[in-house]
């Protein structure tokens, strides 16, 4: 039987090859067949998740909620010291210097990344802004969102912190951060579906020692992850409860 692996579409483009290396490493280590399918759209991936297409997913926290509570997935590991944080940025020459400076009607460049969009909108609340009084434009990537800020087509942009930090220096030098979230306990995680449950002990052992051999370490580096940390059921439920409080 061949299992199916997918990755939350918000991974950095530089790490695409890393996920293919990871898939090859996993197949060799667990001695099972795994097919990797990548998406550039959250909606398209979510449709296939609901169609029960996957057995192993590196999921964002928002989708982890659906995967665990509705589809019986179990979180087995998360990347060490890599919480998901959101950055709200403006054009470096913008008159806005704090979130409270933002005004009704301002134009927001966002993506279909559900966690980042949710956190971004929450951080606008202190300026009395919400989806009813700002102009939200969804872009296909953070780079496109950044370009909209730079050419004046948007007033503020929402970015996954890691994606913001990986924008080119030239782009970042022309932008200014208004606020960075500091939540710490919300992060991506690797989840295993019911069909693959029997492989969880071997998978968890392999992941948690992955950084100890040269090959595993190289694969981790190519994915931009230093090592994996274990995740138990209660840690997962806690994160999902927290996400639930953020969704109105």
């Amino acid at each position: 039987m061949t299992f199916n692996l997918s990755v939350s579409p918000d991974f950095a483009p530089d790490h695409i090859s890393g996920w293919y290396f990871f898939n090859t490493w996993l197949q060799r280590t667990l001695d099972i067949g795994i097919h990797l399918e990548l998406y550039d759209s959250f909606d398209a991936q979510r449709k296939d998740i609901r169609a029960d297409k996957f057995d192993l997913i590196y999921a964002n926290p928002y989708d982890a909620s659906m995967l665990v509570r509705e589809l019986g997935f179990q979180a087995v590991a998360r990347p060490a010291s890599q919480p998901d944080e959101t950055v709200i940025a403006v054009n470096a020459e913008s008159d806005f210097h704090s979130v409270e400076d933002l005004v009704e009607g301002c134009r927001v460049a966002t993506t279909d990344d559900p966690d980042v969009h949710t956190m971004g909108m929450i951080m606008l609340e202190s300026a009395d802004l919400d989806s009813s009084n700002v102009e939200i434009k969804q872009h296909s990537s953070y780079v496109v969102g950044a370009k909209n800020l730079l050419n004046g087509d948007a007033d503020v942009g929402f970015f996954l912190k890691d994606a913001y930090d990986e924008l080119s220096e030239l782009i970042r030098s022309r932008m200014r951060v208004l606020v960075r979230s500091e939540i710490s306990v919300v992060h991506h995680s690797l989840l295993v579906g019911p069909r693959m449950a029997e492989h969880i002990p071997a998978l968890q052992t392999a992941l948690l020692t992955m950084q100890d051999d040269a090959k595993g370490k190289g694969v981790l580096e190519s994915m931009g992850i230093s090592s994996w940390e274990p995740m138990d059921v209660e840690q997962t439920e806690f994160m999902i409860d927290l996400i639930d409080t953020l969704i109105d």
């Binding site: 704090s98 306990v185 409080t245």
Partner: protein, 156 residues
């Protein structure tokens, strides 16, 4: 900090819903809510704190060991009407999510405003506690809540 803050210090006796009383110092000084942070805590079903994140520790002025095992009501500011917390408990008692604006009392008597959300934590069909997440409210919402709570307090 609110423009109306006087910095005056006083003491007030607070009676909690379970009959417990304590004399608390109250200082009319607002601690600004930090941008980008969420205050996160968890309690058991009776409201006893079982988890507090660093933002909660920083804002409340209590150390972690003082918060864990204490009832969440130690944060209750005397300017908060009891009816607001009754609504909270009634709502989460029905298994629903509660949102509200809350003025919290710091250990040193100063205060901070939050937009709070509380949800029941259900595991295998059993209520095991509550998670509360607080975020930065807008100044307009704080002013509206101040006026409303003043009216509700006067009616108590």
């Amino acid at each position: 900090m609110s423009e109306q803050d006087t910095g005056e210090t006083g003491t007030v006796e607070i009676t909690y819903f379970d009959g417990t009383k304590r004399t608390a110092t109250v200082v009319d000084r607002e601690v600004p809510y930090p941008d980008g942070k969420l205050i996160v805590s968890r309690t058991d079903p009776k409201g006893v704190i079982t988890h507090a994140n660093q933002a909660f520790i920083d804002m409340s002025g209590y150390c972690e060991s003082e918060l864990i095992g204490a009832n969440h009501y130690i944060l209750r500011h005397p300017d908060m009407p009891a009816v607001a917390f009754k609504d909270l408990w009634d709502t989460i008692g029905r298994g629903e999510k509660w949102h509200g604006y809350v003025k919290n009392l710091c250990k040193d008597g100063s205060y901070y405003w939050v937009k709070a959300t509380v949800i029941p934590n259900v595991r295998n069909g059993q209520l095991v506690g509550y998670t509360s997440v607080r975020r930065k409210p807008s100044r307009r919402k704080i002013e509206e809540s101040e006026a409303l709570y003043k009216t509700l307090l006067a009616e108590e």
